[in-house]
């Protein structure tokens, strides 16, 4: 009895750590998370547009906050979760964790791009310029480069195991650097205060505005999980197509 399978038997939640058992589970989860995302977003939009009052200074333009801030939160959150899965894949040598990290990267990049896009569209009516060198927007931009770096590295390596491990080292290095980047950009922004207008903290948050934002953030979270699960199923199929369980599944897959 080598030590190897003893650990697998005693910790049963490892049972889902193999791609084969996780694949059908992900299929069942996707519709639930998708439905939750839709419901939460509809509720959030309703609160955001029909309940939250018009803002005193910014008029209606501030309503972009209901997707700008959740997307920004999600972009940071997904990078940390991606680094966690990548790190777990490196430490426990489980293939599924690496796949989960690769599945999260595009969703994180999408959320970062949405945050930048909505930030620019919000900046134009409010400060007259499409791009404001505000600390948060600038760190979002750098975060977008980190995502692209991760995806480019994984795309450049053919061997999936090496791609996962190399991506893990980069993601862990990146996650250590995110706070450093944020604070140095924050510091840089205050140094050149005259040169740019900083995005003031969100307008005095009426309760309903805040509620709208939180609900939308939860909706975005559910959406990201659903998208990531969908993508991880594709990755599992791409990487495991040689193994036998994919063959048996061929008939049953819709």
């Amino acid at each position: 009895m080598t030590g190897h399978n003893w650990t697998r038997a005693s910790v049963n939640w490892f049972k889902y750590s193999s791609p084969q058992t996780f694949f059908p589970l992900a299929a069942k989860l996707v519709p639930w998370f998708g439905a939750a995302a839709a419901l939460l977003c509809v509720a959030g939009l309703y609160i955001g547009f029909f309940v939250a009052p018009t803002d005193a200074q910014q008029g209606e333009a501030y309503r972009i906050i209901f997707i700008h801030v959740p997307a920004a939160w999600m972009s940071m959150f997904i990078y940390v979760v991606m680094a966690f899965w990548a790190g777990a894949g490196l430490v426990f040598n489980t293939r599924l964790s690496g796949m989960m990290a690769s599945a999260l990267a595009p969703s994180g990049a999408l959320m970062t791009f949405i945050a930048l896009w909505t930030g620019a569209l919000w900046g134009k009516p409010t400060w007259g310029t499409w791009w404001v060198w505000d600390a948060r927007l600038t760190s979002e931009l750098i975060l977008l480069f980190l995502y692209f770096g991760f995806m480019a590295l994984q795309a450049a390596i053919d061997n999936p195991r090496r791609a996962d491990k190399a991506g893990a080292v980069l993601a862990l290095t990146g996650v250590v650097n995110i706070p450093i980047i944020y604070f140095s950009v924050q510091w840089w922004n205050t140094l050149h205060q005259g040169a740019s207008v900083s995005l003031k903290s969100a307008p005095s948050m009426a309760a309903t505005m805040f509620a709208g934002m939180i609900v939308m953030a939860l909706g975005f979270w559910m959406y990201s999980i659903a998208a990531a699960l969908l993508r991880v199923r594709c990755i599992i199929l791409e990487r495991e197509h040689r193994s036998d369980w994919v063959a048996q599944h061929m008939g049953t897959l819709k």
Partner: protein, 59 residues
């Protein structure tokens, strides 16, 4: 209810371009992401089906 009428709602206090610009793009990006994923899964299944079909004899 903040809006007197529907087109008042769509005018969004004169910021229609910006508000609907950001919401539209966000919704569009999300939908394209989901559609791309579904297409990707379908193409993998087809591809595997072809391989599976052709090699079933040799395995």
């Amino acid at each position: 209810m903040n809006w007197a009428s529907w087109n008042d709602f769509f005018a969004m206090g004169g910021y229609a371009l910006y508000v609907w610009g950001s919401y539209g793009v966000t919704l569009g990006l999300m939908i394209t992401e989901i559609v791309l994923l579904i297409l990707r899964k379908r193409s993998i299944l087809e591809h595997l089906g072809r391989i599976r079909g052709s090699t079933r004899g040799t395995r």
